[in-house]
C-alpha cells in the first residue's frame, strides 16, 4: 500500500536536453498545478479564494522566469514536482499551504524611531 502511495503522482527526474524541452516540462507542471487548485481547496480546506491561490502559483513560477541554466531548471522542476505531489496527496497540511501566503499577511514592520522603540526592536 505504501509503495503505491509513494508512486502516485511521482515523476522521473528531468534531465532536460534543451531549453525548449525544459520549458515544456515547466509548462506541464504549471498546468498541473492550476488544474489541481479546486482539489487543493477541497482537500485542505484553506480559507483562501481560488483566485489568490492561482495568483500565488503564478507568482512562484514567475520568480524563476529568467533562469537559463539547465541544471538549475532541472532542480527547480524536481522541487516543483515534489511540491505538487505532496500537495495533491495531502502529505502537506493546511499550515504548509498557508506558509506560501504568510509574507502577504505579515504585519508591517515598525518604521521610524518611535515605532521601533515602542515595539522594542532595533
Amino acid at each position: 500500500m505504501s509503495a503505491a502511495m509513494a508512486a502516485h503522482l511521482s515523476v522521473v527526474t528531468a534531465q532536460s536536453s534543451s531549453l525548449s524541452s525544459a520549458r515544456q516540462s515547466v509548462i506541464h507542471l504549471y498546468r498541473d498545478f492550476q488544474r489541481g487548485v479546486p482539489e487543493i481547496m477541497r482537500t485542505h480546506q484553506v480559507d483562501i479564494p481560488m483566485s489568490m491561490i492561482r495568483t500565488k502559483i503564478r507568482e512562484e513560477f514567475e520568480r524563476h522566469r529568467d533562469v537559463k541554466d539547465l541544471a538549475v531548471i532541472d532542480i527547480l522542476l524536481f522541487k516543483g514536482r515534489q511540491e505538487y505531489q505532496e500537495t495533491m496527496n495531502a502529505w502537506k497540511q493546511e499550515t504548509h499551504i498557508m506558509r506560501y501566503f504568510i509574507k502577504d499577511d505579515a504585519p508591517p514592520k515598525p518604521q521610524g524611531f518611535l515605532e521601533k522603540f515602542l515595539a522594542g526592536r532595533d
Partner: protein
C-alpha cells in the same frame, strides 16, 4: 585569477544565457601581505542561491573572508590556519528583547553563521556559488627575523650597533 575560476566561467558561457548577473570582467585583486581589505568582486558562479531556499535578502548582506589573527596575549597559532567566512554585523538587524525571559534576540539569521575553509579559493568558490557579496581580507604576514646571539660580538667596520665596551 585562478584556473578553476576561468574554467567555471568558460563552462557557464552559453549562447542562450541571459545575464542573470552582470558578467565579470577581469577580476584583478591586489594581493598584499598587510591587513588591507581587497576590493569586492562580483559573484560569478553557479547560482546555487536559486535552489538553496535561502531568502533573497541574504544576497544583499556583505560577508567577509579572512584569517583570524593570532591573539597577542598568547603564542598559540592553531586558529590562524583556517580561512573563515563571517557576516558583518548589521545596524538594523531587528534586535529585540525576548518577551518571556528578556533574552537579547535578533532577527538576523546570518549573524551567528561562521564557516571555516581550508583555503581561500574554497571560501571564494562557496560565497560565489551562494551569490553572497564578499570581501577578502588578506592576513597580516608576520615577518620573522632570525636573531643570532653571536652577531652581538661580530666585527663591523662601521659603527657598532651595540657598544659592549665602556
Amino acid at each position: 585569477m585562478s584556473t578553476s575560476l576561468l574554467v567555471k566561467q568558460a563552462m557557464r558561457a552559453t549562447p542562450l544565457m541571459a545575464s542573470f548577473r552582470p558578467a565579470t570582467t577581469s577580476a584583478f585583486r591586489f594581493n598584499s601581505t598587510s591587513t588591507s581589505v581587497t576590493e569586492t568582486r562580483e559573484p560569478v558562479a553557479l547560482q546555487a542561491e536559486i535552489v538553496s531556499g535561502a531568502p533573497e535578502e541574504v544576497r544583499m548582506q556583505p560577508c567577509r573572508i579572512f584569517k583570524q589573527s593570532k591573539a597577542a596575549t598568547q603564542s598559540g597559532i592553531t586558529n590562524t590556519g583556517v580561512w573563515r567566512l563571517d557576516f558583518d554585523t548589521q545596524l538594523q538587524a531587528g534586535r529585540f528583547e525576548n518577551e518571556l525571559i528578556g533574552w537579547a534576540s535578533s532577527a538576523d539569521y546570518m549573524q551567528a553563521l561562521q564557516m571555516k575553509f581550508i583555503s581561500k579559493e574554497d571560501a571564494i568558490a562557496f560565497a560565489d556559488k551562494q551569490g553572497w557579496e564578499f570581501t577578502i581580507q588578506e592576513p597580516n604576514q608576520k615577518i620573522f627575523k632570525k636573531k643570532i646571539y653571536a652577531d652581538n660580538f661580530k666585527y663591523s667596520p662601521k659603527k657598532l650597533r651595540f657598544v659592549k665596551t665602556k
